[in-house]
């Protein structure tokens, strides 16, 4: 299977390029002015980054070689070069009929919709941290933080078990509602295609909001206390300091995390949808990674799956550029 370019690699490599451009410039400028010993020194510095360049090459660029699978009719038993070379057949198939295109569009729509809902929800950990920070009772603060962080360490399979025991047709919620006489037929929480995007986002928030707040709490601890003191002397209230000091001070952290969150949504967004998928919600829950998995692993066509997964690289780059533009507009500086 192809491993598409992931965003962090792009970031890292572009940074490398910037760095190497700079060092090249420095080298040119220094050639006449500086003694040769400086060149040796910069070569030494260059050597220190070589291991990382090698790592990036091995783990981020070499896997791109896997894209070649999309040009073959790959049969595992025969090996890649025992399989037939089919050129662009799989790509043609993807756009071959309106229904195929419709499916891809639907998958893209699911991916982007849930990604952006997730991104929109990424202000929640920040808000949560800001408010949590205002709590004076330390034991209560710790308790809340522990309870909200815990779900992050539960695997999605177990989350689904919890969801199933609570929300299945014979689950706790339906049982209670039936006992109370609110409903006569069980409500279908899990096996229906209504509000799937929203439901999935809510599960995601429940699982990650506490964990996400940790970094912000650390960042808050690092804010210069004199800022608060001077603000208070100027008569700022609690909400004023939160809004005018804490939040702006957290912005750099927020944007870096936002960037990482986007990369993570695209790379790790599968297990959740995989465990929650069923015949009733598949149409609206199938994200790109899951679609690739369903075609490649369940459907047994690794070549077509490779072709589809290349789409993921396209989305990755598009999202990265979108966030970068946002960052430029809000903060005046770009991230990459």
């Amino acid at each position: 299977m192809a491993v598409p370019v992931n965003v962090s690699t792009v970031v890292a490599t572009e940074r490398e390029q910037v760095r190497s451009r700079r060092s090249r410039g420095a080298g040119r400028g220094g050639r006449e002015a500086r003694p040769p010993s400086h060149r040796r020194q910069s070569f030494g510095l260059f050597l220190t980054i070589v291991p990382f360049l090698v790592l990036i090459f091995v783990f981020s660029y070499l896997p791109l070689y896997g894209w070649i699978y999309s040009l073959f009719d790959y049969r595992p038993a025969r090996g890649l070069f025992g399989s037939e070379f089919v050129g662009l057949q799989w790509f043609r198939m993807l756009v071959g009929s309106p229904t195929q295109v419709e499916q891809i569009v639907q998958v893209m729509l699911n991916t982007l919709a849930m990604s952006f809902l997730g991104i929109a929800a990424s202000v929640l950990p920040l808000a949560f941290a800001v408010f949590l920070n205002e709590i004076r009772a330390k034991w209560f603060k710790n308790l809340v933080q522990t309870i909200t962080t815990l779900p992050n360490f539960i695997s999605w399979v177990l989350v689904y078990m919890i969801a199933f025991s609570m929300f299945s047709s014979t689950g706790m919620v339906n049982g209670l509602l039936e006992n109370w006489g609110v409903i006569s037929e069980p409500l279908k929480f899990l096996d229906s295609d209504e509000h799937v995007w929203l439901k999935m986002t809510l599960w995601g928030i429940w699982k990650t909001v506490g964990w996400g707040a940790i970094l912000y709490l650390a960042a808050i601890a690092g804010i210069d206390q004199s800022l608060y003191e001077s603000a208070k002397m100027d008569g700022a209230g609690r909400f004023h300091t939160m809004w005018h000091i804490t939040v702006p001070q957290l912005m750099p952290t927020f944007f870096v995390l936002l960037l990482l969150a986007i990369a993570n949504i695209l790379n790790n967004g599968m297990e959740q949808y995989y465990v929650f998928q069923n015949a009733f919600n598949r149409e609206t829950i199938e994200v790109l990674d899951l679609y690739v998995y369903n075609i490649g692993m369940t459907g047994g066509n690794l070549s077509l799956a490779t072709a589809v997964s290349m789409l993921k690289s396209v989305i990755s780059v598009a999202l990265l550029l979108a966030v970068n533009a946002l960052s430029k507009r809000v903060r005046g500086t770009s991230l990459v």
Partner: protein, 586 residues
């Protein structure tokens, strides 16, 4: 996971192509195949060994425990490490991963046709020609072995479900594979109403559900309870009633056993859509378990054991779950309640074995021992011990059964407890543990249970023994026989009333299809399964109709017609083969 392998072969290819060719050819011959022994297999083995058995039919994974494990260790000093893709889940994921790694298992159970051919081409299976010479038990069915290996450069595959029965005779023993089986005690309570056709079953089930709304275990009773983990080309449950009318699937085609009709399942008037409508109606009547959409086979089975389900699509399901000796003594259990217009599909004894075949992996360290074990599976001792219990395997002679004074096979007291009662604990010298837990995990029938054991002259299947049939009469079967006209078994009743349609066992294998067709098939499958479930649980008739239309259009758009043409041709070819086999053997 497949990447490193490919990268390796790229390097090899880049260095020198001849080298790559060399690598492949050295793979396909495999160790020990050529210098195989001409002497018979040893009777004792010194060192203990473990072999990987890749078994596409197994439902348990890990080392074979219990009495069967003990037996194999005694005979061959072998431990079987069963690798079960069914347990691992995710379709062919496990298969593809292992194949890409170049090692599927020491003993492999795979499908004839595309999979087998690819494994041979890829050098993953060994030519066992020289070992086959010593496989006395398997070579009793030499015709079938030669047929499967036709056109291949050696002996790579040993077919399963071989028999010496005529292909025009049912391969099933006393019950068909499919059939409308209901809780007979409740059917009796509502007065044995006659059932004209499939649709007439619903009001009867409704009455039965109303009579017993709650099971003994306190759970709510539903007439129908469905599950989704066996879904393939279709929603599995919805295909079963099609078999009550003599149809079986060939891809997206429903083909009648006698070749008189072929239906595209998506046609609005197809039997499949009729069954979906039937499910929908049942659900509207409150007959369908709401857990159906999320439960799997195991949870359904335990509900059946608890008496919470009143209809079984198959005899071997409901009866295995509920017809315990205790229940039957009270007259409770699953029996067939015939539909007046049924023509139940029956698989004829396969002339050349079933789809699944055994092969020996090319990386097997001790191919001789693997072959000896494989051969044992075809010997009477192996057949009795290995075959799955639902197929009527009696178990090892001396433990569960023995020859009585008249020389007829008869279950021992232990055997009756183990096979018909609530289970039994195996004596220590046989390996200990519960009998059921210790049964063979291979879940494959090597020789058909209806076939005659050459040593006793009676069938392998204990349910067909006279001694068994005389001894198991109970209030349930007596009541059933009384109503049905004195028949001893379901098969006898069906045969006499012309309610069974035997498809001659032609051992047909569909030709390899292009990856493109396969891919479209997989996409369409997903659409069909998805929409079928939605249709069965649709809120009203209009939604049902809209979903049907949506299913037809989406499938059509994905290229359904292309796949259907392939399947139609296959179905017709299969029928031609059936006719020729029937003419040859019949």
């Amino acid at each position: 996971m497949s990447r490193p392998v490919a990268r390796r072969s790229l390097l090899a290819g880049g260095l020198s192509l001849p080298l790559l060719g060399l690598g492949l050819s050295s793979c396909s011959s495999g160790p020990g195949a050529e210098e195989g022994p001409a002497t018979p297999f040893p009777t004792a083995w010194d060192d203990q060994a473990t072999i990987d058995v890749f078994d596409g039919l197994a439902n348990q994974m890990g080392e074979q425990p219990g009495w069967f494990g003990h037996l194999v260790a005694d005979e061959f000093a072998l431990t079987l490490n069963v690798i079960a893709p069914n347990v691992a889940g995710g379709g062919d994921t496990l298969y593809n991963t292992r194949v890409a790694a170049g090692e599927l298992g020491d003993l492999v159970l795979t499908d004839v046709g595309q999979k087998l051919d690819e494994l041979i081409e890829g050098g993953l299976l060994m030519d066992v020609s020289s070992l086959y010479a010593n496989m006395d038990s398997a070579s009793r069915f030499d015709d079938a072995v030669q047929k499967v290996n036709e056109g291949k450069d050696g002996i790579y595959a040993i077919p399963t479900q071989v028999s010496s029965l005529k292909p025009t005779e049912p391969s099933e023993g006393i019950d068909p594979t499919f059939g409308p089986f209901v809780r007979w005690d409740l059917y009796k309570e509502v007065g044995y109403p006659e059932i004209g056709t499939l649709e007439d079953l619903l009001p009867v089930l409704k009455e039965m559900q109303d009579v017993a709304p709650e099971a003994d275990n306190g759970g709510r009773v539903y007439a129908l309870s469905l599950f989704n983990d066996w879904d393939g080309n279709y929603m599995n449950n919805a295909k079963q009633p099609c078999c009550y009318y003599g149809y079986d699937e060939v891809g997206f085609v429903l083909a009648k056993a006698d070749g008189s009709d072929y239906q595209s399942i998506l046609d609005s008037d197809s039997l499949y859509v009729r069954v979906l409508q039937w499910f929908f109606d049942a659900n509207q009547m409150g007959l369908v378990d709401p857990d159906s959409t999320t439960q799997n086979y195991d949870s359904l089975f335990s509900k059946m054991q608890g008496g919470q389900v009143l209809f079984s699509f198959w005899p071997w399901q409901g009866q295995a779950a509920y017809n315990s000796e205790a229940n039957m003594a009270e007259g409770k259990g699953f029996m067939i309640a015939p539909l007046a217009d049924q023509k139940i599909f029956s698989y004829g004894a396969p002339a050349f074995g079933a789809r699944q075949v055994f092969g020996v992996g090319s990386t097997a360290e001790d191919p001789e021992r693997v072959a000896a074990f494989l051969d044992w599976l075809y010997s009477p001792a192996g057949v009795y011990s290995n075959s799955s219990q639902t197929m009527g395997a009696a178990g090892p002679q001396g433990l569960t059964w023995e020859l009585n004074d008249d020389g007829k096979p008869e279950l021992t007291d232990f055997g009756r407890d183990a096979l018909l009662g609530d289970g039994a604990t195996v004596p220590e010298e046989w390996g200990g543990g519960s009998y059921t837990d210790g049964a063979s995990w291979l879940n494959v029938t090597t020789v058909l249970g209806n076939d005659e054991d050459p040593e006793t002259g009676h069938p392998f299947n204990y349910k067909m023994w006279e001694t068994y049939q005389q001894s198991v009469s109970n209030p349930l079967t007596e009541d059933w026989a009384g109503v049905m006209g004195g028949y001893a078994t379901t098969m006898e009743y069906l045969n006499d009333n012309d309610m069974v349609l035997v498809a001659p066992g032609a051992s047909y294998v569909a030709p390899q299809e292009s990856s493109e067709v396969e891919t479209i098939r997989n996409q369409v499958k997903a659409v069909i399964v998805e929409n079928s479930w939605k249709m069965a649980f649709a809120s009203d008739q209009a939604t049902f109709d809209a979903l049907l239309k949506d299913m037809q259009e989406t499938a059509e758009g994905l290229g359904y017609q292309t796949v259907l043409d392939v399947d139609m041709a296959n179905a017709e070819e299969q029928n031609a083969l059936r006719e020729s086999v029937a003419a040859e053997f019949g």
